[in-house]
């Protein structure tokens, strides 16, 4: 179960809408022990060559962003990205690049409107990702 504050989910959806038809990406920060997202932190998608169906954030840029959040007392719970005109189902490419012990929240955006959001976690053997429920907190 991934818990996310209502306002943060709204900010995430706004980021996905603004970025359409490109994929957007960001960090889910908060409390790992409670599995709660208290802050969404948008990042820059570095895949300028194929932004409609790929995202990437390089190691140093990600490390810097994560250290900034951790300096504010937040932990890294996971990451989010959008799937423009595709379902919120993870792709093989998502799975191949996923880290264990993290939540991967995917938002489906069709025609500029957010349709659906699902969260996934990589199985230990990396064979697939398992959906986890999302609980929206006020």
């Amino acid at each position: 179960m991934l818990r996310i504050h209502r306002k943060q989910l709204a900010l995430l959806h706004a980021h996905a809408t603004e970025g359409y038809p490109h994929e957007v990406v960001g960090i889910l920060a908060g409390d790992r022990s409670r599995h709660t997202v208290q802050r969404v932190q948008p990042l820059t998608n570095e895949r300028a060559d194929s932004p409609a169906n790929r995202y990437k954030v390089g190691g140093l840029a990600l490390l810097q962003a994560e250290q900034d959040l951790e300096a504010q007392g937040l932990e890294i719970v996971g990451y989010y990205h959008s799937h423009p005109d595709h379902p919120a189902q993870y792709s093989d490419y998502d799975r191949e690049h996923a880290l264990p012990n993290m939540s991967y929240l995917i938002t489906s955006v069709h025609g500029g409107d957010v349709i659906h959001t699902q969260s996934w976690r990589l199985l230990e053997d990396r064979s697939s990702m398992q959906e986890e429920a999302i609980e929206i907190e006020s």
């Binding site: 990406v25 954030v57 190691g59 990600l62 990205h81 792709s91 490419y93 880290l99 264990p100 053997d125």
Partner: protein, 93 residues
Amino acid sequence: MTVSIRIPTPLRPYTDGEPSVAVEATTVGGALNFLTTAHPDLSKHLRNEHGKLRSFVNVYLGDEDIRFLNAEDTPLTDGAELTIVPSIAGGVA
């Protein structure tokens, strides 16, 4: 010689929660192999089925990406600090 490897948060469950692991090695590849021998469950997340580092796994020696040095053959000196820095990537199939 003894070197340290900094472990990123999502991989710490495989190092008993330790943020840094001391290993004995003379090259970067040797250091990583020492790490995955001591913590075997970590291996599949660092290396693919061909034994190569996964594309999202970046390894830094100090502040230098080993890809711009001599990759896993990069020699180490005593007290060297390695850092595993994941990037994130994905997208519609």
